[in-house]
Structures are given as structure tokens and as C-alpha cells.
């Protein structure tokens, strides 16, 4: 299971890289979102025992349990990436309204005022 998630992480990173290198700002933002999901999967696969079928609770009777920390990290990180994506979308929209284009190559030419 860890191997599968790691391969999936790799696929997501390559998809995200492709998206981030494109010209349309919306694709770039989607790329950053996919990239953060890849990081979340990576943290998850670092937790070990992905498919042991246990709950992350340690009681007196429990024989084994799943490390709960990666889940906590991922939750925090999802919230942060949500906030960053939101702010990026707003910024991109404002820039689109000001310049009339979503092409990153054309933004480059904006003169400093």
C-alpha cells in the first residue's frame, strides 16, 4: 500500500509540475493545489501501517494502532493549502480584471507605474 501511495505521489507531482509550467494562471493555481495533495499523500505514506486496519487509538486492550500524527499534520496542512489557494484565486482574478488577460506571458510586459 505504501508503494502504491508513493507512486501516486510521484504521478501527482509530475501532473502538478506540468500544470505549473503552463501559461494560463488558472492552470498554475490548480497545479499548486495538486502539488499540496501530493505532499499530503507523502506524509500519509510516512506514517507506516497504512493498511493494518487499525484505529489511531491506544487503549489498554489494543494490540496495535495506527500512528495518528500524520493525519493531524495533513488536516492542518489541508486547511493551510485551502487558504493559500483561495488567496491565489482572488489575486489572479484581480490581476485578470486589471489586465484583461489570464496569460502569464502577457503579464510580464506590464510597465512599472
Amino acid at each position: 500500500m505504501e508503494t502504491l501511495t508513493t507512486i501516486l505521489t510521484g504521478v501527482l507531482v509530475s501532473v502538478a509540475t506540468y500544470l505549473i509550467l503552463s501559461r494560463s494562471v488558472l492552470r498554475v493555481i490548480l497545479g499548486t493545489a495538486v502539488l499540496s495533495h501530493a505532499a499530503h499523500l507523502l506524509i500519509m505514506s510516512m506514517g507506516r501501517g497504512l493498511k493494518s486496519g487499525e484505529v489511531p487509538i491506544l487503549t489498554d486492550e489494543a494490540l496495535s494502532y495506527v500512528d495518528p500524527l500524520p493525519q493531524a499534520l495533513i488536516l492542518t496542512s489541508i486547511v493551510i493549502s485551502f487558504a493559500v489557494t483561495a488567496i491565489l484565486l482572488v489575486l489572479a482574478y484581480r490581476t485578470y480584471r486589471e489586465t484583461g488577460t489570464d496569460n502569464l506571458f502577457e503579464w510580464r510586459g506590464i510597465k512599472d507605474e
Partner: protein, 493 residues
């Protein structure tokens, strides 16, 4: 256990939230933000004093003992930086009162300054690696807003670049944390240090350390500074001063912490990387500082040179060099804020950013000119101003370890700093006065007072070195003896 430790982060957060409900009460927001920063100065100074008597202070949140819970750890290094952050933020706020404009103030400017300071202080104080990431993000989110606030075209363009590069570096940070957690199985900084010391720094850990180095190099502007001049030069003066004084310093702090606490076992690889990066940064920054005629770019490239110089101290890592780095870090926070404020004031009074369009300002604004002269001497390292001591100590460290190339580059870069600012001084303050006394824009007290306070700050930091030195030396001592830090965090009390 000391509850005061968390206050430098909590108070600004609460103040920032409070301002959301009092959007139009600008006077109130100004006063509360200013009082918050002054209060933080007091708390940090008291804790720093306590540190010398009672050792490193910490707080374990909701009673979870380390390494299981998150804790804030206040050692001298962190507290010195919190103290200066609060000081610089207070002074930049005074400047902002009379320069930032009502439109920005009503769009929650003070909220975001408070969030920024909370994130910076949290990054300095936290004792948990993932919490460091979270505090970085708090700081960065606030800075995204501050840099874009105002919504001019050039601001929007630069802020998109700034946000994207930081999203990418945060991603690397997360990946590095994931790998380290996979390899070591803990996130508490003291515990990580202990486990790495037990298991030895395996090649796997060294690779992870290089990922961390990449992350912090991006944040601090160590060689990977390509995003820095653009984004720092378009923000309003008070914001640019805050950024120039604080944001790169957080990256430097994280780098010093990580490479003195975790990855200090294999310096032949990690510290060689830092040496090369620092040397290239000094060269690149020096070229940038003399290449432009836009005063904002000259000033931002000076930030880059300082980053390289401070990390020379980390690269050689002798006690003197680390003391020098810490001292230079303190000096640089004050002086870079001052430099940005002075440059911003010059732009405000002349209405142009190009130095070849300014001339003879010393006749119109003598005080501004002399303060620029003092900051120039201080940055170049002329005694008795504050830049001198840091440079001497770092130089001493490089000589002891025999890294003469680094020594030569570090001191050549000082000459470039002097040259780049002397060019500004000669061009803008000397020469024919082109602004007649009729259309001279009157100097505001709100502009001059913060600059004057910072100028006094750099003189005091230089003359009072004897008094400040015990704190700096204690900070360097903790950095060099990770066991002190580990004992303070992992012992139960």
C-alpha cells in the same frame, strides 16, 4: 513552564482579530497595534533577563509533555530576535501612521501587520518542527495580503510571483518534514536532535538536510533570491521596511536553528553547501547592488548581501563567528528597516525612484541626509556603529578556520555595500539642489521620528556592545551546545 512565552504570538493574533470588528476605528487600531508591540518588547526583555538567571523557558500546550505535545521554547537566540522584531514592528507602525493612507488602513492593514508579527514571533519561539511550518504560513499569508494591498498593476504582478514561489518553497518544507518524520519518527525539535545524535547522521538524513537547506535558502534569499528584489521593491515603504527587516531573518533563523540543532554531525557536506551558497550570494548581491539606478532595487540587493554575510558565520560555525552572526542579525534588522524607511522617504519627497533624477537633497532635508550617511557607515561596518562588531567577530571566525576566500568575499561585499550607498548619497544628497524651497514637500514628523529612533538604535547597539554581549554570547553558547536545549525541553518539571 512559563505562560509568558506564548504571549508574543497570542497578543498580536488577538489584536488582529479584534480589529476585524472595529474596521472604521482607525485611531483605536493604531493605538492598540502600537501598544501590542511595546508590550511584546517588555515581555521579550523580561524573558531574556529571566533566561540568564533561570535558564531556558518553555511552555507545553495543554499540559502535554514533550516530545508528545507542542511546546514553545524561549532560548536567548529566539528572545533576542523576538525583542528586535517587536521593536522594528513598533517603529514601522509609527512610520505607517503617517504614510500608509486611509484606504489601506480601512482594509485591515493593522490586522495583517499584527498577524505578520505573530507569525514571525511564533516561528522564533516554537519548539516543534511542524509548528514552525504553520507559523511560517501564518507569516506568509499575512505578507501575501500586505504586498498586494492597494491593488496596483505592478503590485499584483509581483505578488502573484511572490505567492507562487512561496507556495513552492512551503511544499518543499512539507516534503522535508514528511521525510524527516519518516526517518526519525518525531517532530519535537529537541527530540529530533537527540535521536539524530543517537543514530548518527546517516546519508539519508544528510539528504533530508539538503532539502531543508533548499527550503530555507528560498525563504531567506540565500542564492535563491531571484524573487526578492521584485517583490520587496513594490510594497509601500512601511511594509517594505517590515519585510526587509523581518521576513528573510526568519529564514536565516530557521537555517541556523536546523543546522546547529539537528544536522551538525556532518559539516563537511552540509556546511560546505552553506559556504558555497553564502559566497555566491555575496557575489550576486554585490553585483546587484551596484548595477541598478532604482534606489528601491539598490536597497533590496543590500538585503541579499546581508543574508550572505550572516550565513558566512553559520558556515564556519566557530563560537566567535556564530556570535558575530547573531550580532549582525540584530544590527541588520534595525539598519535594514532604517534603510528602507529612508529610501522610501526620499522617494516620497522627490516623487521619483531613480537616483539620477534626484540631486542636492541635503539642502532641502539635512536631517534625512545625515541619517542616510550614518546608516551607510553602519552598514559598511565603521566603528563605533553596530555593523562593526558583527563583522569583526565573523571575520575572526573565518580566520580561525582558515577560510580566507570566504573572508575576502565577506569584506569585499562590505566595500560594495559602501560603494552602492555612497553612490546614492553623492548622487541624491550632494550636487545642485533642484527642488526649490517653494515646491519642497514639507518633511513630516511621522517620517523623521521613526528614522531617528532607528538611527539612535544603531548607535546604541554599537556603543552598548559591552552590555549586550552577554546575551549574544549566551545565545551562541546554546546554539553550540545542543544538549542545553535538549535538556531544557525534555526534562519534566
Amino acid at each position: 513552564m512559563n505562560n509568558l512565552v506564548v504571549l508574543p504570538m497570542v497578543i498580536p493574533v488577538l489584536a488582529g482579530i479584534l480589529f476585524v470588528f472595529f474596521r472604521n476605528q482607525i485611531k483605536l487600531q493604531r493605538w492598540i497595534s502600537f501598544i501590542v508591540m511595546i508590550g511584546n518588547i517588555g515581555i521579550a526583555a523580561y524573558l531574556l533577563h529571566l533566561n540568564q538567571i533561570a535558564g531556558i523557558q518553555r511552555i507545553d500546550f495543554s499540559g502535554w509533555m514533550p516530545p508528545f505535545g507542542i511546546s514553545f521554547v524561549a532560548d536567548s537566540f529566539a528572545l533576542i530576535l523576538v525583542l528586535l522584531t517587536s521593536l522594528v514592528a513598533a517603529i514601522c507602525l509609527i512610520y505607517a501612521f503617517s504614510s500608509i493612507g486611509e484606504a489601506r488602513e480601512k482594509m485591515y492593514f493593522y490586522s495583517f501587520v499584527n498577524f505578520l508579527v505573530a507569525g514571525v514571533n511564533g516561528s522564533f519561539l516554537t519548539g516543534d518542527l511542524f509548528n514552525l511550518y504553520v507559523c511560517f504560513e501564518i507569516m506568509l499569508l499575512a505578507s501575501y495580503v500586505l504586498i498586494a494591498l492597494g491593488g496596483e498593476k505592478v503590485q499584483l504582478r509581483e505578488s502573484i510571483k511572490y505567492v507562487l514561489i512561496n507556495v513552492l518553497s512551503s511544499w518543499f518544507f512539507l516534503v522535508a518534514i514528511a521525510y524527516l518524520y519518516g526517518a526519525i519518527g518525531t517532530l519535537n525539535m529537541a527530540h529530533i536532535s537527540e535521536r539524530i545524535a543517537e543514530s548518527g547522521q546517516t546519508p539519508l538524513l544528510t539528504v533530508i538536510s539538503i532539502v531543508f537547506l533548499t527550503v530555507f535558502a528560498l525563504k531567506a534569499g540565500l542564492l535563491l533570491y531571484f524573487w526578492l528584489p521584485g517583490s520587496y521593491s513594490i510594497a509601500p515603504t512601511a511594509v517594505a521596511a517590515l519585510f526587509g527587516a523581518l521576513l528573510t531573518k526568519v529564514g536565516i533563523y530557521a537555517m541556523i536553528r536546523v543546522f546547529t540543532l539537528f544536522f551538525y554531525h556532518d559539516p563537511s557536506i552540509t556546511h560546505t553547501f552553506i559556504t558555497v551558497l553564502a559566497a555566491l550570494t555575496l557575489i550576486g548581491g554585490s553585483i546587484g547592488a551596484v548595477a541598478y539606478k532604482d534606489i528601491r532595487l539598490i536597497v533590496t540587493y543590500n538585503v541579499v548581501i546581508a543574508v550572505g554575510f550572516i550565513l558566512v558565520g553559520l558556515a564556519v560555525a566557530t563560537p566567535e563567528a556564530l556570535e558575530g552572526s547573531i550580532y549582525y542579525l540584530m544590527h541588520d534588522m534595525i539598519v535594514k528597516a532604517l534603510l528602507f524607511l529612508l529610501a522610501g522617504t526620499m522617494i516620497s519627497v522627490t516623487g521619483t525612484t531613480r537616483i539620477d533624477e534626484m540631486s542636492g537633497l541635503i539642502r532641502n532635508y539635512p536631517l534625512l541626509g545625515w541619517m542616510f550617511f550614518i546608516v551607510m557607515l553602519s552598514l559598511a561596518g565603521v566603528p563605533p556603529l553596530s555593523g562593526f562588531i558583527g563583522k569583526v567577530l565573523v571575520g575572526q571566525g573565518t580566520i580561525e578556520t582558515g577560510s580566507y576566500i570566504l573572508l575576502a568575499l565577506a569584506f569585499l561585499s562590505s566595500i560594495f555595500v559602501l560603494y552602492s550607498l555612497l553612490r546614492v548619497f553623492l548622487q541624491c544628497f550632494w550636487g545642485e539642489t533642484i527642488i526649490s524651497s517653494e515646491d519642497e514637500i514639507p518633511m513630516k514628523n511621522g517620517w523623521m521620528i521613526p528614522c531617528a529612533i532607528l538611527t539612535i538604535g544603531t548607535i546604541v547597539l554599537g556603543l552598548g556592545a559591552e552590555f549586550i554581549f552577554p546575551y549574544v554570547s549566551d545565545a551562541a553558547n546554546t546554539l553550540l551546545n545542543p544538549s542545553d536545549y535538549i535538556d531544557a525541553v525534555l526534562t519534566q518539571d
